[in-house]
């Protein structure tokens, strides 16, 4: 293959690396109004009165909007395919504020200083209510986070607002209780993966204006332009046809930008004033007023027979969705969906979960999407089982993992199409030096080194829901345009989708123009999330390219006066098999588009998959723990990955290294924390510690290629699966080092130290 499988640099790489003006703020008009949000200082309160008089009278204040000025229609900010599973539980502005940072008023002014000054002059009287802060106390709490009558769901998600339950999910196959009784060994424990902040470097931002036909144009740093358009249409009560959402270059997303933030406020200002408006969330707002990973409590029980074959898994999950239910039902469901199929020798499995409302910042989509939390719990308990059975942790995995052609209990008969997880485990073991290092080695009077491991899976797209369309045209000058709704956020999908098109059409990538992420011009795509772009949008591109190739061959054959079977692609031309006649793409384009042909050649395809094939990772951590202080240094992290065919090895490696680093942050450093009044204590990088380049040790990535029959060129996904193994693998290594089993993430030196004193 000439394009696929090669480490081709990103087509936008040089522009973004050297600081060219291609991000949202760079493109905003200089005269755009500055939009600022007055936010609630209380975790739970009702607005009694708002006095705007001193603020509105300021010169340069364009408008100030409160709950009295917005449509009374609830919606969700979750960027999901319609009908969204997330509850419609928010208004643009509400009389009730549900967390510290919830929006109270929208201020638009000619510049930032004026907007800030106006904000200070707004007087709000609140009736403060008792907040629900501890998610384990949410069910049955005397305060009800969403008392309103008009909250609605598109379908049954197990919402029970009187009990603060946003969503419930139950899945059961076989009789877990009976099966556990039959097991030789049963282990159980409770795990607490924490809320984690995305901390993409480009904070949330959008600007809006009205175009020459009066339509609302929103340029947004988003992963989901089509969903933002639908969201805005509902929230603002205007037809979607009157809205265009454009995604420029994006400075990172990690799932955070799968939830709307700020777009609706800028858009409302533009609708009210007719003027361009720009909203930029500062870092503090990004930390405190957007979304985080769902904090969870997972009780897991695992039963196995004497040989270590896992026969029963019982998982009970409580998920903290915060003040609003964005992604609450789906993240909850994915905890089980992306863990239970790992081990398919089970005879019974049960999953029971609730996502609860609390008066804290909403949780939302975050790379891993429930799989991260579930993997921490399941893999930790499997490590515990291995110890109980005196089995090597790698061996117990190899005995239990699913093989090609097999099914799993909750999988409704879907067979596994590809896996090289067994090779990933074997190779990872070699790379880390498992046999020499497991479980621990003393390396000094107070220093001990140890290794730990975990495996994980994710999906590739959302089966039977996620669909992507793609279009490829042969242009008048013999070049091509690839139109896609997929949203490159630094991940490189504009590049890899071009690689796929170039491969099928046998053309160099340089003659493909990529036009993406614009709801006016792109074919529909849900956006880049759910590990779907390579797998779902990629297949749509392959199909569209194949259709165009077929049309090019047929039309060329007609012009050459031969049959379709007698021609082939040859460079930027089509020639007869005998080689005596040829027509260039440029000539073909001229004849079809400009001249007498009157038929521009276009390939178009819509693709959705009936399956969501899992990529896999086997992760291995080596840590050094200081027995005197509890300090943990990550020495080495090895991740061996099965993402099917690797479309672009360098881009895949970077995705993997970055995902592992985020997982390392979750394991050791990062935590969204609140004070006793519900105010977030970790609202800057001074308190919220993401890993620096000194904190990640050495991360080593290898690929064990498999071939996924339903994927483009055999590819599966990679974006999310890479985030999942570090918490359980590092936790395991720390346990092997000093015997401290810390189930509350992150595993800080204090916790390790205190654990050692027990």
């Amino acid at each position: 293959m000439k394009s696929v499988g090669h480490s081709i640099r990103k087509i936008d790489g040089m522009a973004i690396a050297t600081g060219k003006p291609v991000y949202t703020e760079d493109l905003a008009m200089d005269n755009a109004l500055v939009v600022k949000i007055l936010r609630s200082p209380h975790a739970y309160a009702k607005i009694r009165s708002i006095d705007l008089s001193k603020a509105e009278s300021l010169e340069g204040v364009e408008c100030i909007l409160t709950y009295k000025d917005v449509p009374n229609v609830r919606f969700t900010l979750a960027g999901q395919s319609y009908p969204e599973p997330s509850p419609y539980d928010r208004l643009i502005l509400d009389q009730i504020v549900r967390y510290v940072g919830d929006e109270v008023a929208i201020i638009a002014a000619v510049d930032e200083k004026t907007a800030q000054l106006a904000m200070k002059r707004i007087k709000v009287e609140y009736e403060v209510m008792e907040p629900v802060l501890d998610f384990e106390q949410a069910i049955g709490h005397s305060s009800i986070v969403h008392p309103e009558e008009d909250l609605s769901c598109n379908f049954e998600i197990g919402l029970n607002k009187e009990k603060n339950i946003a969503s419930s999910y139950h899945e059961e196959v076989g009789d877990v209780e009976e099966e556990l009784k039959r097991c030789a060994v049963v282990v159980e424990d409770v795990y607490y993966p924490q809320a984690q902040a995305h901390t993409m470097m480009e904070t949330y931002r959008a600007f809006s204006y009205l175009d020459h036909t009066g339509r609302l144009i929103v340029v947004s740093s988003t992963q989901v332009p089509f969903h933002i358009r639908r969201q805005l249409a509902r929230a603002l009560q205007i037809p979607a046809s009157k809205i265009r959402v454009i995604k420029p270059r994006i400075g990172g997303g990690f799932g955070g930008k799968q939830t709307g933030a700020g777009d609706v406020f800028a858009a409302l200002v533009t609708l009210k004033t007719g003027k361009p408006a720009l909203i930029i969330y500062d870092r503090k707002e990004t930390f405190t007023c957007t979304t985080s990973r769902h904090a969870m409590r997972l009780r897991v029980k695992l039963g196995a027979d004497q040989d270590g074959i896992i026969r029963a898994i019982d998982m009970q999950v409580l998920s903290d969705t915060g003040a609003y239910g964005e992604h609450a039902p789906t993240v909850l469901g994915c905890v089980g969906h992306y863990t239970l199929p790992l081990y398919n020798k089970t005879r019974a499995v049960r999953f029971d979960g609730h996502a609860v409302y609390t008066n804290k910042m909403p949780a939302g989509a975050f790379r891993g999407y429930g799989a991260t939390q579930g993997t921490f719990a399941l893999e930790s308990i499997v490590n515990k089982l291995a110890e109980r059975l005196k089995l090597d942790p790698t061996e117990i995995r190899l005995k239990n993992i699913s093989k090609v052609g097999e099914t799993f209990l909750t999988g409704q008969g879907v067979m596994l199409g590809s896996t090289s997880l067994d090779q990933c485990i074997v190779r990872g073991k070699e790379l880390i030096g498992w046999d020499e290092k497991f479980p621990r080695r003393e390396v000094g009077p107070n220093k001990v080194r140890a290794v730990g491991m975990a495996i994980t899976m994710q999906g590739s797209g959302i089966a039977n829901i996620g669909t992507a369309s793609a279009e490829i045209r042969l242009n008048d000058d013999g070049n091509f345009t690839l139109l896609t709704g997929a949203t490159d956020m630094g991940t490189g999908c504009d590049t890899i989708l071009s690689q796929m098109a170039a491969e099928i059409l046998e053309i160099p990538m340089e003659i493909i123009i990529v036009n993406a992420g614009d709801t006016d011009t792109s074919p529909y795509d849900p956006g880049s999330y759910a590990s779907s772009t390579t797998y779902v949008a990629g297949t749509a591109v392959v199909k569209a390219a194949e259709e165009l190739k077929s049309k090019i061959l047929a039309q060329s054959a007609a012009f050459l006066g031969v049959s379709r079977e007698d021609v082939e692609l040859n460079g930027l031309a089509v020639r007869t098999l005998s080689g005596d006649q040829e027509i260039s793409f440029a000539k073909l384009a001229e004849l079809t588009i400009l001249g007498t042909g009157k038929l521009q050649l276009v390939g178009y395809a819509t693709h959705g998959s009936e399956v969501s094939p899992p990529p896999y990772v086997a992760g291995f951590a080596e840590v050094e723990v200081d027995r005197e202080t509890g300090k943990v240094d990550l020495i080495d992290y090895v991740a061996v990955i099965d993402c099917g065919t690797v479309i672009n090895p360098n881009l895949a490696r970077i995705q993997a290294e970055g995902g592992i680093a985020q997982g390392i942050g979750m394991a050791l450093y990062e935590q969204v924390r609140y004070d006793e009044l519900g105010k977030m204590a970790t609202n800057t990088f001074m308190q919220y510690k993401i890993p620096t380049r000194k904190d990640v040790g050495k991360v080593r990535i290898e690929f064990e290629v498999s071939y996924e029959p339903t994927g483009p060129f055999g590819a599966k996904s990679i974006g999310e699966v890479v985030a999942n193994t570090p918490p359980p693998a590092i936790s395991h290594a720390i346990y092997n080092a000093v015997g401290v089993r810390e189930n509350h993430l992150p595993i800080t030196p204090e916790k390790v130290f205190l654990g050692m004193q027990k």
């Binding site: 973004i16 995305h198 470097m201 500062d282 630094g490 490189g492 592992i660 985020q662 990640v696």
Partner: protein, 149 residues
């Protein structure tokens, strides 16, 4: 008030407010490579050179730039492109948002450190955060760029 400074080898006179930060002044004059991402001097995205030394433009008042020589990535097209080529060949720019500041730090490091060890490289660049790449690819690119193994 008015300040006089040299920006990318060009002498300019700019009107600035007394509380204006250099990062904002630079952006308002069209140097859009300047990104800010933290408000607390933690992330390194706004890195420029002041009299040849890498500095955080978000943490310096524009007034303090009076009489100074400021260099942004726009002023180093050749050097920046040379390293950016290597960085993006690794795929290690990813979202690119932290890249201009990071590149300014790398180029400053190249001027300051002779044959730096891996540890010295990591230490020098610790103030440049990146959430996408996990830093490994950046390190590979730097080693290629500096010709150190």
């Amino acid at each position: 008030m008015q300040i006089e400074l040299t920006i990318n080898e060009k002498a300019v006179k700019w009107e600035v407010a007394f509380d204006e930060l250099l990062a904002d002044t630079l952006r308002s004059h069209g140097f859009l490579s300047i990104k800010t991402a933290c408000d607390t001097s933690c992330c390194g995205l706004c890195t420029v050179w002041i009299d040849g030394k890498s500095r955080l433009s978000c943490s310096i008042l524009s007034l303090q730039a009076h009489g100074k020589k400021i260099t942004t990535i726009e002023g180093l097209p050749k050097e920046a492109e040379e390293f950016a080529q290597i960085l993006s060949a690794e795929g290690a720019e990813q979202c690119g948002f932290c890249s201009p500041g990071f590149i300014m730090s790398v180029l400053a490091m190249k001027n300051e450190l002779v044959n730096p060890s891996e540890e010295e490289i990591i230490h020098y660049l610790t103030g440049n955060l990146c959430r996408c790449t996990g830093y490994m690819g950046q390190l590979r690119a730097i080693k290629t760029f500096l010709g150190v193994a």
